[in-house]
Amino acid sequence: MARITLDHIRHSYGPKPTEAKDYALKEVHHEWEDGGAYALLGPSGCGKTTLLNIISGLLTPSEGKILFDGTDVTNLPTEKRNIAQVFQFPVIYDTMTVYDNLAFPLRNRKLPEADVDRRVNEILSMIDLSDWAKRKAQGLTADQKQKISLGRGLVRSDVNAILFDEPLTVIDPHMKWVLRSQLKRLHRRSGFTMVYVTHDQTEALTFADKVVVMYEGEIVQIGTPVELFERPRHTFVGYFIGSPGMNIMPAALEGSAVVVGNQQIALPKRPAVACEARLELGIRPEFVQLARDGMPIAISKVEDVGRQKIVRASFEGHPLAAVVPEDTEIPADPRVTFDADALNLYANSWRVETGA
């Protein structure tokens, strides 16, 4: 168990990076608490796996240092970092039994056989494969194989951190829930520092205490699920988290009011922004109220998604989504109001404080 410090880390796969776009991972400078459950969330190719491999030592960063509990481990090989990692696709040792697969990391570290047996049986019952212990791992289903990979990651009790690289991709949906809650429980009980890479927001939000959102090689926000939902620091976070994502519209400032098209929306106080900045207004569909008075919109489509409706409309020429309760009447002359607390103003894609 360890506190992980990422000290000005940058990484480029090319030999001589010169500009920002050469870096697969732009500067990352953060400290992750001991015992925290972090999810690295972002689209494919945003640098999540690069960052994970830097932590596990499979990659050495081009620049910067990585510290576990204050000790520099940048140049330590993976096996010396005392880390467990679970990969996207199952990695199993075909010729061994399920039991031996799980015992492998422990036996390699010369643990007494009694301890090995205790740990392995514990994990076997956790991943629900006790009945398969004596079977060869070869003939198992993809699900079961991935559970073994997962189990091998969890079997050691002395690791600094456990890293998961999209481990549930190949698992059946219903099993995902089960495994995820088991992981969560294990995390609470054991207090390992866990880092979980995923591009699935549900997975990230349910697993982690802190979600690290990455975009184009950069960490754009680290926050609790609530923070990400209510106060996205970057328009990408607004767009990526939530379904449908945040409404983002080009805007201008007039005094302490935001102007979108012909509409003025008052802010509690005048935000401090440079005048040349590109401004955008963000509002989550959940905070758009459909009403008889307010600002006019043109509705193009209403999607019924069960307990609520998603209204797709055009507001001053910009697409706008609103989430309304299922029994809401859609008025003939629809108008909207925005919850003042839920307004977010973005200058050059980054959030500015509006006092809301």
Binding site: S56, A84, V91
Partner: protein, 288 residues
Amino acid sequence: MNKTWNNKAWFLVMPVLLLVAFSAIIPLMTVVNYSVQDTFGNNQFFWAGTDWFTDVLHSDRFWDALIRNLIFSFVILAIEVPLGILIALNMPKRGIGVPVCLVLMALPLLIPWNVVGTIWQVFGRVDIGLLGHYLRILGIDYNYTQDPVDAWVTVIVMDVWHWTSLVVLLCYAGLASIPDAYYQAAKIDGASGWSVFRYIQLPKMKRVLLIAVLLRFMDSFMIYTEPFVVTGGGPGNSTTFLSIDLVKMAVGQFDLGPAAAMSIIYFLIILLLSWVFYTVMTSQDAKS
């Protein structure tokens, strides 16, 4: 479900049947024909029954050649398979080294067999050959035309030089199919180099190794050209393998009956041994 019977379907397999008939079945049947008859030319044939088979199976000459052949196959497998694995493991995985190594490895395989024989025949000569000459200078009494041990060493080294590449290329293909995640996982699990080989690389190479062993066994058991060019089966009969013996009997002595009988026995032995190899090696798969 009712099967539809349509005898016209036979016409569809006719071309293949004809091809196989002319290329394999008919030639094989002529050999069978010779093996049960005696002929003195002029197309006169006399029924001989199983006499030739009994003759061959009771001749020391046949058994000696068979044993020599088995020893030869065993020795080259014992050298080429581990050596091939070792080389494949040490070949570069990416970069410019890959094509360079692959081409270098493929070179011996591209040389016609009799040329390989000629190369080594000249190479080993004590008067003008690089190998033979310098071994002499080093004080080693080497002469493959007179010493049976030297002849064997030459023939084996030649085969290793010629065919280890095949094992290397097959193993390399097997190794290339292992995803990086396996090596990364092994690192994280703290596996030693030996464990990585034993639990990741070897299992992944198993299938191609099976093919490599089978191919090398069949080929070495039928070896003819290279030792024939180098030693001609000598000195004495020390490097006379089954196929060399067979050619001596059929073409040299014109004993068509015994030669035909021997061919059939030879064929059955190869078939049997290959089947045994295959069954033993695949049965381990089935068990797990």
